[in-house]
């Protein structure tokens, strides 16, 4: 059914193809990049800031490296970063939400008020401080973003867990003497999985954007890593003479975020029964 709707929604279908293409680029970057040594090889400073041409599709940057190859390697970094951020946030947020929703009472209050506090921060600002505290690196910036992100999954899981708690099968499990812990792990956790997966797919684009933003500010990947945000930051200084250096990594950030957001949007429409009713399907 979901597949059927995805097919009916050509935009989601196109975005899925773009995502698969990006994954393909990321996995086979070393084979696909026209200059496989661009990432770690020796710089060719004599070739620096060459405009786009047939030999260098996206031109070259300040070390004479091929921007096209760097952007392809960047795909690998950005997709991994997006996945890591979302995965880490889910790992923190999801169980907490299940505990809050299932336990209710004081534990629920404590967990949910904590999420309120984290959500009161503009997420980029909090991520920025944490990344700064941990010291700028790609890994630390991922951790920093996850720290600001998990409360959303807690909220999502909590709402579902709280309603599942009232269902008969939970009552039945209690009646046969299952402990609260095993009910949470065996019944509540798996039953809250679907919305969490949908939400995390939808968040991948935003996570990649956030990561690029932190790297742009100098708190993420460090030079000479071919991270897209960092490349824009470096290209900014020469934006008027070597426009290609900042432009092409940006095109890829935009394309990636757009593909994930479009796909997530289609997924939500396909899966959310309330929306489906509104659309009259």
């Amino acid at each position: 059914m979901t597949l059927h709707i995805l097919r009916k929604n050509p935009l989601s279908f196109i975005s899925l193809i773009i995502i698969l293409f990006l994954v393909f680029l990321a996995v086979f970057a070393s084979w696909l990049a026209p200059y496989p040594d661009a990432y770690q090889g020796t710089p060719h400073v004599e070739d620096k800031y060459q405009p786009p041409s047939l030999t260098h599709l996206f031109g070259t940057e300040y070390l004479g490296r091929d921007v096209f190859s760097l952007v392809i390697f960047g795909t690998r970094l950005s997709l991994t970063a997006g996945l890591m951020i979302v995965a880490l946030s889910v790992v923190i947020g999801w169980p907490l939400g299940v505990i809050a929703g299932y336990s209710g009472g004081k534990i629920d209050d404590l967990i949910m008020r904590t999420t309120d506090m984290f959500l009161a921060f503009p997420s980029l600002v909090l991520a920025l401080v944490i990344a700064f505290v941990l010291g700028p690196s790609l890994i630390n910036s991922m951790i920093a973003i996850s720290v600001t992100w998990w409360p959303w999954y807690t909220r999502l899981a909590r709402a579902d867990a709280a309603s599942l708690k009232e269902r008969t099968f939970v009552e039945a499990s209690k009646a046969i003497g299952l402990s609260d812990r095993s009910i949470m792990v065996r019944h509540i956790l798996p039953n809250t999985m679907a919305p969490i997966i949908v939400q995390s797919t939808m968040d991948l684009g935003t996570a990649i954007l956030a990561e690029a933003g932190l790297s742009f500010l100098g708190l993420g990947a460090q030079p000479p890593t071919p991270e897209w945000g960092l490349m824009i930051s470096a290209g900014r200084a020469v934006a008027f003479s070597a426009w290609w250096y900042a432009t092409f990594p940006g095109v890829f950030i935009f394309l990636t975020a757009m593909a994930f957001n479009l796909f997530g949007d289609g997924l939500r429409e396909a899966l959310d029964p309330r929306l489906r009713r509104i659309r009259g399907e």
Binding site: L128, V133, R236
Partner: protein, 340 residues
């Protein structure tokens, strides 16, 4: 009215708890995080006994909860530390840079709303048509654009190539010299208009347009999508069917009756997207060399200027908390259902 008062009190208490939480988090980040604040304070060439003395002076030898009270006391009294870089009290710097960020965020938000809200209404009433699909692509493109990148592109196209708008800054240097804006609120557009300094007003306007457009893309997409979905729900309400049965013109129904009920969800959208605008402004500011909190914190990052970074995080979250509080109260005032 009793409802409203009770709601206001409840909401204020909630806000207080959140502010306390923010202070916990920032305290944690400012105390636990730097390896040794005392060593940072005295500088890298300090001797061990100097560090020890600083530790006592800064109260770092006290138990953690005492340290927290000292920290809170300092915050409340307005001593937010001194910037390592500018050598100014952080709070003074923040007050100087904040209006610039707020002005940018507000103008960006206005552009976003002017484009996003009507498009959302149109998309909702032309649901599942080509117009709706196009608006969907536009909205999703808006939330997918890296603001710093689009800012850079706007600079390349409109400033560098076409020369229509200034490349960076908030005001032309010549105008700053010859027709300085008298600082009242720190909002250049407002201050220049109030003091009748129209030359400076138009110059400030020319400077803010590109960064504000760059910033508005995300909020525009967000408001478009959320207006669309809340309008779709409202358009299905029974009282609108009644209005149609009475033969009222479709536009009256849409813009007079339906839109009125869309105000509450719209305010919610604006709260969320303003919070985003403010942080987005941080990134845009760096591109446009806009003298706001973003540029300030960016320079602080490069200079490892600790008090500034913590200070900016406090002020930014306070702004968001206060704006959300105001929006909630306005909502409760408009829509009694919210108070329950």
């Amino acid at each position: 009215m009793v409802d409203l008062k009770r709601y206001i009190v409840k909401r204020f208490l909630q806000t207080l708890i959140i502010v306390l939480g923010i202070s916990f988090i920032t305290f944690f980040l400012s105390r636990v995080a730097p390896s040794d604040p005392a060593a940072l304070w005295v500088g890298i060439h300090a001797r061990a006994e100097q560090i020890q003395r600083a530790r006592v002076e800064l109260g770092l030898d006290q138990p953690l909860y005492v340290q927290y009270f000292i920290y809170m006391g300092d915050l409340l009294q307005g001593s937010w530390g001194t910037s390592y870089r500018t050598r100014q009290p952080v709070l003074k710097d923040l007050m100087f840079y904040m209006p610039a960020s707020m002005e940018l965020a507000v103008i960006g938000q206005i552009i976003a709303s002017v484009v996003g809200l009507p498009l959302g209404v149109i998309a909702a009433s032309k649901k599942n048509t080509k117009i709706d699909h196009a608006s969907r692509i536009l909205a999703i493109a808006g939330v997918s654009l890296p603001v710093f990148w689009i800012g850079l592109l706007l600079q390349i196209i409109f400033s560098r190539t076409l020369g229509i708008f200034p490349i960076e800054g908030r005001l032309d240097t010549t105008i700053q010299m010859t027709m300085p804006i008298q600082r009242i609120t720190g909002f250049f557009l407002f201050d220049s208009l109030v003091t009748g300094n129209f030359v400076a007003f138009f110059d400030a306007l020319r400077h803010i347009i590109l960064p504000a457009i760059a910033l508005s893309s995300y909020s525009m997409g967000l408001s478009l999508r959320m207006t669309r979905s809340s309008m779709i729900e409202i358009l299905r309400e029974k009282y609108l069917k009644t209005a149609r049965a009475f033969g009222l013109p479709e536009n009256t129904i849409r813009f007079k009756y339906a839109l009125k009920n869309a105000i509450v969800p719209t305010l919610m959208v604006m709260g969320i997207s303003f919070s985003w605008s403010l942080t987005g402004a941080f990134l845009v500011e760096v591109i446009f060399n806009w003298p706001g909190l973003g540029t300030y914190v960016w320079r602080a990052i490069l200079a490892v200027d600790y008090p500034v970074i913590v200070g900016v995080s406090i002020i930014a979250s306070l702004i968001i908390v206060i704006i959300n509080l105001i929006l909630d109260l306005v909502q409760a005032w408009i829509d009694p259902r919210v108070r329950l």
